[in-house]
């Protein structure tokens, strides 16, 4: 081999090696990042065209603790529907999009769902900012039905947008009188500075005052705030009975710890936080939140047959770190899919107008925490609400609403 030939060959080899490395890198990157789109086809063979269910939720990013169980519940419920003959004789197909806790990305994802995949319904979104970002694309431009599953601040009255999670009225109407009776009259409202705490606090304050209580402080913190020394001192100095908290993790853990170490719990103070579910119990050691009260549409401790069945099936399919709970919107997702199923059955169609008309009064007899139904004309659900208290790292139910609680929205 001549010297020149050798050089050329060596060059070719290194060129192809470089190309290989580049391509491998690109491929690896694509696998690692992914498009975040998943298609779940129904099992078995079906003659009819599938009904397409779009799920847009945060499988990655800071809200993935909620998005992962949401997607799990959707897969579980749709599989069950397919196993029992589908809907209107047609199978159901899931188009799952990872919105990655990123509103800008989410808009392009739901645009794909409504324009390219042409799904018949979209369920998803956890935070209010996410709902606000994607609703117009789904409902107005996409002319598609949208079901939002998370507990939230209320006031969402967009046509064709149906909410299946608890509202401030549902989380406060029975809970706050209970707190006054079992905690005291002086309330402090430490809050993260975004829309949900502001609007929820306005409702909570009204309810506290109507029931003879008093708000001694309402304070807002940047969402990533993580030192609460000043606030803890104010709470201790003004002898507050109930801390009605809407600050959020990760700073939340520091706040509860500082309160505990300052002696708030020891002196008989009561913590309250309406997003606290079984999942949230892991955020702090049990003794720091002993006696913490929460009010949600479902707790494992309710021990109702409907909830137990769902819980058992979910844990079998998805054992691990993302359980089926109310605070992560998993219950709202379940309810949303089941209510939509009932509406499609009644309407005998998946057309938006027909389904919306039936969904307006749709009702299910069984579900997490019991049956539920849409209050006609409001696109919100009335449901049973439960007050629970954390004892030794577990929730115990202390009060159940007398029948379903009205959402008090858009009426």
């Amino acid at each position: 081999m001549s010297n020149g030939e050798f050089q050329v060959r060596q060059r070719l080899q290194s060129y192809s090696r470089r190309l290989f490395v580049q391509r491998a890198g690109l491929l690896g990157g694509m696998i690692a990042l992914g498009a975040g789109s998943y298609l779940y086809n129904p099992r078995g063979s079906w003659a009819a065209d599938p009904i397409k269910v779009g799920i847009a939720t945060d499988l990655t990013g800071p809200i993935s603790w909620g998005g992962i169980p949401n997607a799990n519940v959707a897969k579980m419920v749709i599989d069950d529907m397919n196993a029992s003959g589908g809907l209107l004789g047609r199978p159901l197909q899931i188009y799952l999009e990872d919105t990655a806790t990123n509103e800008a990305l989410a808009v392009t994802k739901v645009r794909k769902l409504v324009t390219q995949d042409r799904v018949d319904v979209v369920l998803g979104g956890i935070t209010s900012s996410m709902r606000n970002a994607i609703k117009d694309t789904i409902v107005n431009r996409g002319k598609t039905l949208y079901i939002y599953p998370q507990l939230y601040e209320g006031k969402e009255c967009t046509p064709y947008l149906f909410c299946t999670g608890p509202t401030p009225a549902q989380q406060c109407d029975t809970f706050i009188p209970w707190l006054i009776k079992n905690g005291g009259k002086k309330f402090y409202l430490p809050s993260a500075d975004y829309v949900w705490p502001h609007v929820l606090n306005a409702y909570a304050r009204k309810t506290i005052e109507q029931n003879g209580g008093e708000v001694v402080g309402e304070e807002y913190f940047p969402v990533d705030h993580n030192d609460y020394g000043a606030t803890v001192n104010k709470i201790m100095a003004s002898k507050v009975n109930v801390v009605f908290n809407t600050t959020i993790p990760p700073g939340l853990a520091a706040f509860f710890k500082q309160l505990y170490e300052a002696g708030f719990n020891r002196n008989g103070g009561r913590l309250a936080c309406v997003y606290y579910d079984e999942n949230a119990l892991n955020i702090t050691p049990a003794e720091e939140i002993e006696g913490l009260g929460s009010c949600l549409d479902y707790f494992k401790a309710i021990n109702d047959p409907g909830g137990n069945k769902i819980q058992a099936e979910y844990n079998k399919l998805y054992p691990g770190v993302n359980p089926f709970t109310a605070g992560s919107a998993a219950t709202g997702m379940y309810r949303g899919l089941k209510l939509w199923e009932a509406a499609v059955k009644e309407a005998k169609s998946v057309k938006r107008e027909d389904v919306a008309k039936a969904l307006d009064h749709a009702k299910i007899l069984e579900g997490p925490g019991g049956g539920s139904e849409f209050v006609p004309g409001t696109r919100h659900v009335k449901m049973n609400m439960y007050t629970a208290v954390s004892k030794g790292g577990k929730f115990e139910i202390v009060e159940k609403s007398k029948g379903p609680v009205m959402p008090g929205e858009c009426g």
């Binding site: 800071p62 807002y220 993580n226 030192d227 990760p250 770190v321």
Partner: protein, 287 residues
């Protein structure tokens, strides 16, 4: 302020200031000695906390886990420096973006492992003790003590040892240092590993105060950079002074003004100081 609030106020300012100094320590060493702004620093802190969480899951006592955290993160930092960071020394801006990308990958990786959840870790010293009639956190007090010891240790290492001399020589005149037989590439690798180990220590000690979650390092990152800028680059002492200032005011201001406003004020005041004293808080420090 009422007289009963003075002790809790001082404790809060010192305790939060200490946590902040601890976080900035590693960042400050890497920034001042190597000129690299490590945007993955918050995730190094996270890795330290995650190490403690992992070991605690395997029933390792918390204090042993906290000793392991800086070692594990230090080794990780060393490997990262050899594999990636050393390619960035000539391009500081690329280094910022590169370390940011590394941080993002680490954060999302840990988030995947945690399933996006939050977990707590037990403190080696639990509970609180009373000072007068004020209840004071035992673990936060321990963190203050450890921070002071670590600071002194780092200062001695950088000013009183042969390694410290080599580090400073490699910073001030790399060519001359190499000519004098100092392997600058080895010094840089060890300095980066030291910075990473300190971040791991901060994460380990912070773990019982904040819950373990993928975003636990994020709130500290931008303010840490502010602290380093305030300190005026060049010196390690400057970064510490900057950290004490930023951490202290971040804790102190919410006692007097709304917390959402306090965050902005910290930045405004720090920027004003930088304008007046561009050479840094401690101008007598090394340049």
């Amino acid at each position: 302020m009422e007289s009963t609030a003075v002790v809790p106020f001082l404790f809060d300012v010192i305790a939060y200031g200490a946590i902040f100094v601890l976080v900035v320590l590693g960042l400050g060493i890497i920034a001042s000695m190597m000129g690299i702004f490590n945007f993955a620093h918050g995730e190094f802190v996270l890795l330290g906390a995650y190490t403690v969480y992992l070991l605690e899951q395997r029933s390792v006592p918390a204090w042993i886990a906290m000793i392991c955290a800086p070692i594990a993160v230090g080794i990780f930092g060393l490997l990262l420096e050899r594999a990636v960071i050393r390619r960035f020394y000539a391009a500081p801006v690329a280094a910022m973006l590169g370390t940011y990308a590394i941080g993002l990958a680490l954060r999302e990786g840990v988030r995947g492992l945690l399933g996006g959840q939050f977990y707590w870790v037990k403190a080696p010293l639990a509970g609180s003790f009373t000072l007068g009639d004020v209840s004071v956190s035992a673990w936060r007090t321990a963190v203050i003590v450890i921070t002071v010891l670590t600071m002194v240790g780092c200062w001695l290492l950088l000013t009183r040892t042969k390694f410290g001399l080599q580090v400073r020589a490699a910073l001030e005149n790399p060519a001359l240092a190499r000519a004098s037989g100092i392997s600058t590439s080895r010094v840089y690798a060890l300095t980066f590993a030291l910075g990473a180990a300190l971040a791991g220590l901060a994460g380990g000690l912070m773990a019982p105060i904040y819950s373990i979650s993928a975003d636990m390092g994020v709130p500290f990152l931008i303010k840490s950079f502010l602290a380093v800028m305030l300190g005026g680059g060049g010196g390690f002492e400057g970064a510490m002074a900057g950290a004490a200032f930023v951490g202290g005011t971040s804790a102190a201001l919410p006692w007097f003004i709304k917390p959402v406003v306090a965050d902005v004020v910290v930045f405004v005041v720090a920027i004003a100081i930088m304008k007046v004293r561009p050479q840094g808080l401690l101008s007598s420090g090394r340049s």
